[in-house]
């Protein structure tokens, strides 16, 4: 993570230190919220190489601090800034920019919305969520394998239109991205110093109310870019996503959500991919197909309690033989609205890479709190 420009820090400090001199003054400042996450974690995989399976001493780790600054720039546009201080090193952590973008919301022809900056791309449904918004403590394996630890988050320009589908909300969003995220995640790092190749995404989504208490969102996304800048090899991802939520009362809800990703790419032998060299040492061009999916359910049965389960299955961008599966169960406790959240997370993950199989059990107790403005939850 790079440090943000000094001007951003100046804005942040000004916003924080400005006294609240009446409501008019308050309303001119951007909305500010700060959300840190910590986790007390143990797993039984650290000594597997020594043939020992035992849970490690639980460690309290700082995961991340996120600071959001959000507000209207003018009647037509708003800006959203999300600064992040990633863990686990509290002392040496550096401030980074998770998202920094402006959105033009009105005034454009065809009711077009435009977003410019660095942002979590609308690729699938899950990718837009920040980690504190997940009902569980870990990222689904397929997201990590195919999009990277930070998800698909890149510099770019996004345009979104609503399609004329009557009462049905149907939106088409397309993005041109700098391409840096492709190299950082499921691609080969470009050390030539050349500008990365652009990548592009698109998502078509529809929202369907089902009865008085249920809603379903369906999405189809595509993502293409250059994953090997040396051979100009392209990848194409196709992603299907859905989210169903049933909310019969204010404090009872069931959410079922999932995504399936299919990866298609050409790859050449190079310094990172020796497996694509034939016995004579001739570079081979191979065509790779691999996939990943996750599915979870989250049930809120009282105002302050949630529980759920998640299933992950994922191959990797460069191999359909390497694969991982995980089952997670999680419990959420929110004693004082959204200002404090405690999540207990158990996950069993099993990796199969070539002939080797490895499994790890992880137990985490995540703590997060939220200081500042509470925004309404989007579906």
């Amino acid at each position: 993570m790079e440090s943000p420009p000094r001007i951003v820090l100046t804005i942040v400090l000004t916003c924080i230190t400005t006294p609240l001199q009446g409501l008019a003054q308050l309303s001119l400042n951007p909305d500010i919220s700060v959300i840190p996450r910590f986790i007390l974690e143990t797993n039984d995989g650290e000594k597997l190489d020594d043939g020992v399976r035992q849970f490690s001493r639980p460690q309290l780790k700082f995961q991340e601090l996120e600071m959001a600054l959000q507000g209207y720039l003018n009647p037509y546009a708003r800006a959203d800034i999300f600064l992040t201080v990633p863990g686990p090193d509290v002392e040496e952590a550096r401030v980074g920019i998770e998202e920094l973008y402006a959105s033009v919301l009105r005034g454009l022809p065809l009711d077009l919305n435009i977003r410019v900056g660095k942002y979590r791309v609308e690729y699938g449904k899950f990718n837009r969520l920040h980690p504190h918004q997940w009902p569980f403590a870990t990222q689904p394996l397929a997201q990590t394998a195919f999009l990277g630890e930070e998800g698909l988050n890149d510099l770019g320009i996004s345009a979104s239109i609503l399609l004329p589908t009557g009462d049905l909300y149907t939106a088409l969003t397309a993005d041109i991205l700098s391409g840096a995220a492709a190299g950082e995640a499921a691609g080969i790092e470009d050390t030539t110093g050349r500008a990365p190749y652009y990548s592009a995404t698109a998502r078509l989504m529809s929202f369907l109310p089902i009865g008085d208490d249920g809603d379903l969102e369906l999405g189809l996304s595509g993502y293409t870019g250059i994953h090997d800048p040396y051979n100009r090899d392209r990848f194409v991802y196709i992603n299907l996503d859905f989210k169903y939520k049933y909310r019969p009362s204010s404090y009872t809800s069931l959410t079922v959500q999932g995504e399936f990703l299919h990866n298609m790419r050409k790859a050449h032998q190079n310094h990172d991919l020796e497996q694509y060299q034939d016995p004579e040492g001739t570079p081979l061009e191979v065509s790779i197909r691999s996939s990943g999916l996750f599915l979870f359910a989250d049930f809120q049965w009282a105002r302050i309690y949630t529980m759920g389960a998640r299933y992950d299955w994922s191959q990797t961008p460069y191999s359909s033989d390497d694969r991982a599966q995980a089952i997670a169960v999680f419990l959420g406790y929110y004693p004082v609205e959204e200002t404090l959240g405690i999540r207990l997370h158990y996950q069993h993950t099993r990796w199969q890479m070539a002939e080797n199989t490895r499994s790890v059990n992880m137990i985490g107790l995540q703590l997060l709190f939220s200081l500042g403005v509470h925004k309404a939850h989007p579906f």
């Binding site: 009462d167 204010s250 404090y251 009282a302 609205e337």
Partner: protein, 294 residues
């Protein structure tokens, strides 16, 4: 040929004839009032159901679609509907007129002098449940009328006539409700949330405390125990709860005291038989009256 001409005219009619004013409100109460004024010459829809907590509405694309087609969006304001700006932005409707009824001069109660989260989920601009004092419906109706007239100036006489009839009915009911409740002025109640401040002030009822220790904060065992003592000492007869709140703590208080838990809707349709604002208020006043009887 005649058939073809008739078909052509019938297809053109919806385009040539002026479209009804399309109104979307946050609460069904406001929709009911708007419908009473606009009659069949407006189309009215609302976002929140009467049995939903208006503070916590999920931002759904389907709500954005409602606003996309609307001419006027009417809201309570005072940050009751914190979700409304996201729906307005998501509607992509440049011509939408947003009517925030908290800006029309209704007297505001419980405007905080200090705003931070130690006070709970406090509303910066004061208690927003002002529609539960029926005397506030007159300025609300007038504001809605002005918006409708701006959208459809030719319909002003029709709208005015409807509004006059509606307010006359309401005024009659207000007198009836006030007469019914006059002997009970000064009675004490407990409410779950600070939803009933305007309602109680209008009827001269005293809200002694809330089941929530602070606005928006779930009931705690300590506070519930304090309330049990308060109810016993103050001879409080009613614990007023909106339909969307958890009844566990109120029923615990009720079980250990003489107080009765009564579920009163804060919005139209919150319980059966409350299909209009007037019928909802009628239900609320009469239910409270019964509960406060010695």
């Amino acid at each position: 040929m005649i058939r073809i001409s008739l078909l052509f005219i019938s297809l053109l009619l919806p385009i040539l004839s002026p479209a009804a004013v399309r109104v979307v409100t946050t609460l069904p109460d406001l929709a009911d009032i708007a419908q009473a004024i606009g009659g069949e010459r407006i189309e009215v829809d609302h976002i929140v159901r009467g049995d939903q907590n208006p503070h916590f509405i999920e931002v759904k694309p389907s709500y954005m679609m409602k606003l996309k087609r609307a001419d006027i969006f009417i809201m309570v304001g005072m940050e009751l509907e914190l979700w409304a700006p996201q729906i307005i932005d998501g509607s992509r409707n440049d011509r939408l007129e947003v009517l925030d009824l908290s800006t029309i001069g209704v007297e505001k109660l419980e405007v905080p002098t200090r705003v931070d989260r130690s006070q709970g989920d406090v509303h910066r601009f004061g208690n927003p449940h002002y529609w539960l004092d029926p005397r506030n419906i007159r300025p609300i109706a007038n504001a809605i009328l002005r918006s409708l007239v701006r959208a459809a100036p030719d319909e002003e006489p029709f709208f005015r006539k409807n509004m006059a009839a509606y307010l006359a009915t309401l005024d009659t009911k207000i007198v009836e409700w006030e007469e019914l409740m006059r002997p009970l002025a000064g009675a004490n109640i407990i409410t779950f949330h600070r939803s009933w401040s305007y309602f109680a002030r209008w009827l001269g009822i005293i809200v002694s405390d809330q089941v929530e220790p602070k606005p928006g904060i779930p009931p705690s065992p300590t506070h519930t125990a304090e309330l049990i003592d308060l109810v016993k000492e103050g001879k409080i007869r009613a614990i007023v709860v909106a339909p969307f709140y958890d009844l566990t703590a109120p029923e615990k208080i009720s079980a250990e005291t003489q107080a009765q838990v009564i579920v009163l809707p804060t919005s139209v349709g919150g319980v059966s038989g409350t299909d209009t604002y007037i019928s909802m208020m009628d239900h609320n006043v009469k239910t409270l009256y019964e509960a406060l009887q010695p």
